[in-house]
């Protein structure tokens, strides 16, 4: 998983029947020191995250292993909303 | 399958139960000319390889579980053979 910041939502009207009803978020990867990286993924939201939230996202076939994404063409998922993280004694607190 | 050289043995006392009794080696993935290709991989040994050996390994879950006969095993990398030689055109080493 990677840390990321939700920077927007993605709207797609014409899409595969199987992924209708799934909310798509645009997530920008964050480094472990809270720096935005130049890497963006479109991920399905299963934890009601919103723009500005720091989240954990996963990529690859693991993403199909939740009830809403089971057997669906999904390869990015927002799986958790991060409250805090700590690296080498330094704590990063997320302001919601 | 990928090409690599065994660069060490990995000792881990605390590990997933399914790994008990399995030998773990550190493998450096290489290109066909023996140049380092990516970060080292911890692989389960099935051929009694040791440090210095050039080996063939898989880095994919389904094949790994099949080779080890370990259904639901949390495993990806397995050494499946020794490499004696590679014949390749325009080998810069020759």
């Amino acid at each position: 998983m990677q840390l990321g910041k939700v920077v927007g939502t993605v709207v797609s009207t014409q899409k595969s029947e199987s992924i209708k009803g799934l909310k798509l978020l645009l997530v920008q990867q964050l480094s472990h020191t809270d720096k935005p990286l130049n890497n963006y993924v479109v991920a399905v939201d299963v934890v009601q995250a919103g723009t500005g939230d720091v989240v954990l996202y996963a990529e690859g076939s693991s993403c199909r292993q939740t009830a809403p994404t089971d057997k669906k063409p999904v390869d990015g998922i927002v799986m958790a909303i991060v409250d805090t993280w700590e690296v080498g004694g330094k704590e990063f607190r997320v302001k919601h | 399958m990928k090409i690599g050289t065994v660069i060490g043995t990995v000792v881990a006392t605390l590990k997933n139960e399914g790994y008990n009794g399995r030998k773990l080696l550190l493998v450096r993935p290489e290109d066909p000319y023996g140049k380092k290709a990516e970060a080292p991989v911890v692989a389960v040994d099935t051929v009694c390889a040791g440090p210095g050996d050039r080996v063939l390994f898989v880095d994919e879950g389904n094949s790994a579980r099949l080779v080890l006969d370990w259904a639901d095993g949390c495993v990806r990398a397995v050494i499946v053979g020794f490499i004696d030689s590679i014949d390749i055109e325009s080998n810069p080493k020759k």
Binding site: Q29, H32, V47, A58, R64, Q65, M79, W85 | I7
Partner: protein, 90 residues
């Protein structure tokens, strides 16, 4: 599987149900000389490891298998704590 060093912890209260109770750690992948290699990843802990420890972890779909509820979206999991890597050639 890759080797890495645990460099931190991540706290997330709201997460997918299948990961309830699972500890999340930040792991810095290492190269063969023990130097950092690539971006750190967040991995699910299955071995009670903690910051400073050298571990081996698994990535991809297989990372969901060692957790208590195997139907989960984890794509990285710590599956062992490394005591040492011996590099003698024979």
């Amino acid at each position: 599987m890759k080797i890495g060093k645990v460099i931190g912890t991540v706290v997330a209260t709201r997460k997918v149900e299948s990961l309830t109770g699972v500890k999340l750690l930040l792991v810095q992948p290492l190269d063969e000389d023990g130097k950092p290699s690539g971006e750190p990843v967040v991995a699910c802990d299955t071995q009670q490891s903690g910051p400073g420890e050298t571990v081996f972890f698994i990535g991809g779909r297989e990372a969901s298998l060692p957790l208590p509820e195997p139907f989960n979206p984890s794509d990285a999991a710590i599956i062992g704590i490394i005591d040492m890597v011996s590099r003698n050639t024979r």
